[in-house]
C-alpha cells in the first residue's frame, strides 16, 4: 500500500474518466449516503424519544426518500456489475456496454419510483 500520492488535487480534478468514472463517483456517493442513513436510522430506533421522532420525520420527507432510493438502487445495480466483472475478469472487455445496460435498468425503475414517491407526497 503506497502512502505517497504523486498527483496534485488540481490534476485529480481535471481527470475526465467519462462513464465509468461517473459510476465510480455515484457508487461512492450512494455507499456513503446509505452508510450515514443506516447508522442514523439504527441509532434513532435505539434511542427513540424526541430524537427518534425527529429523525423519522426526516426519513419520511419525500426529498430524502428520493435521495436514499437513488443511493440504494444505484449502489445495488452498479455493485452487481462490479461483482460480476471482478469475479469473472474475462467479462472486463464488455465494461462499457455493461454500464449502458446498467443505466437502461436504472433509469426506468428510478423514474417510476420517483414518480410514485412524488405523487404520494402530493397527496
Amino acid at each position: 500500500m503506497s502512502l505517497k500520492r504523486n498527483v496534485s488535487l488540481a490534476t485529480g480534478l481535471r481527470y475526465r474518466g467519462q462513464g465509468p468514472m461517473l459510476t465510480f463517483i455515484l457508487h461512492r456517493i450512494g455507499g456513503l449516503g446509505m452508510a450515514v442513513f443506516v447508522t442514523v436510522h439504527i441509532l434513532a430506533s435505539f434511542l427513540g424519544g424526541d430524537i427518534g421522532k425527529f429523525l423519522n420525520d426526516v426519513y419520511q420527507n419525500w426529498l430524502f426518500q428520493i435521495f436514499i432510493f437513488f443511493c440504494a438502487l444505484f449502489h445495488a445495480i452498479n455493485g452487481l456489475r462490479i461483482t460480476l466483472v471482478d469475479l469473472f475478469p474475462k467479462l472486463l472487455v464488455h465494461q462499457r456496454e455493461a454500464i449502458w445496460v446498467e443505466w437502461a435498468v436504472f433509469i426506468p425503475i428510478f423514474a417510476i419510483a420517483a414518480f410514485v414517491i412524488v405523487s404520494t407526497a402530493g397527496g
Partner: protein, 144 residues
C-alpha cells in the same frame, strides 16, 4: 482504445493479504445480501404480502426483515413476521451490511487520508464503529 487483455495470475503471485481478503469479502457479501433481500421478499410473499402490503412495505421489509418495519401494516398474522427465523435472517443481513459498509468507509477514507498515522486512526475508529453498530443493531432487531 487499446484492447484489454485480462490475465489471471496464480494465487501465490497475487498476494494473499488482509486487503485482498476484504476485497473478496466486499464482493461476496454483496452477493449474499442480494440473496438475503430476495429471500426476505419471497418470504413476505409467502406470508401473504400480496394481499396485505404495498410495494414500499415489501421493499422496506426486504431491506431489513425485522418486525419494526411492518408495524404500520395491518397484518392478518403479525406473529409470523417476528419469529426467531426472521430475527436470524435480519441479524445475518445486518452483520454483512455493517462489515461491508464500514470497510467501504475505510476504502473511501484511504483515498483522502494518506499519512500512516491517519490511516491507523481510521482503522481503529472503523473497528470501534463496526463492533458498536453490530451490537446496537442486533439489540434493535431483537427488541423491535
Amino acid at each position: 482504445m487499446a484492447a484489454l487483455k485480462p490475465r489471471t495470475l496464480p494465487l501465490t503471485k497475487r498476494g494473499l493479504n488482509f486487503e485482498m481478503l476484504m476485497w473478496l469479502f466486499t464482493r461476496l457479501s454483496a452477493l449474499a445480501m442480494y440473496a438475503l433481500i430476495l429471500f426476505a421478499i419471497i418470504g413476505a410473499l409467502v406470508m401473504g404480502a400480496r394481499y396485505q402490503m404495498n410495494l414500499a412495505d415489501v421493499l422496506r421489509w426486504g431491506f431489513m426483515p425485522n418486525p419494526g418495519h411492518v408495524q404500520s401494516v395491518p397484518l392478518e398474522n403479525p406473529d409470523a413476521w417476528g419469529t426467531l427465523f426472521w430475527k436470524l435472517t435480519a441479524g445475518a443481513l445486518l452483520l454483512l451490511a455493517v462489515a461491508h459498509g464500514v470497510h467501504g468507509l475505510v476504502v473511501i477514507a484511504d483515498d483522502y487520508i494518506v499519512t500512516p498515522r491517519g490511516r491507523l486512526v481510521v482503522r481503529w475508529l472503523s473497528i470501534a464503529m463496526m463492533i458498536s453498530m453490530s451490537l446496537i443493531g442486533l439489540y434493535v432487531i431483537w427488541t423491535s
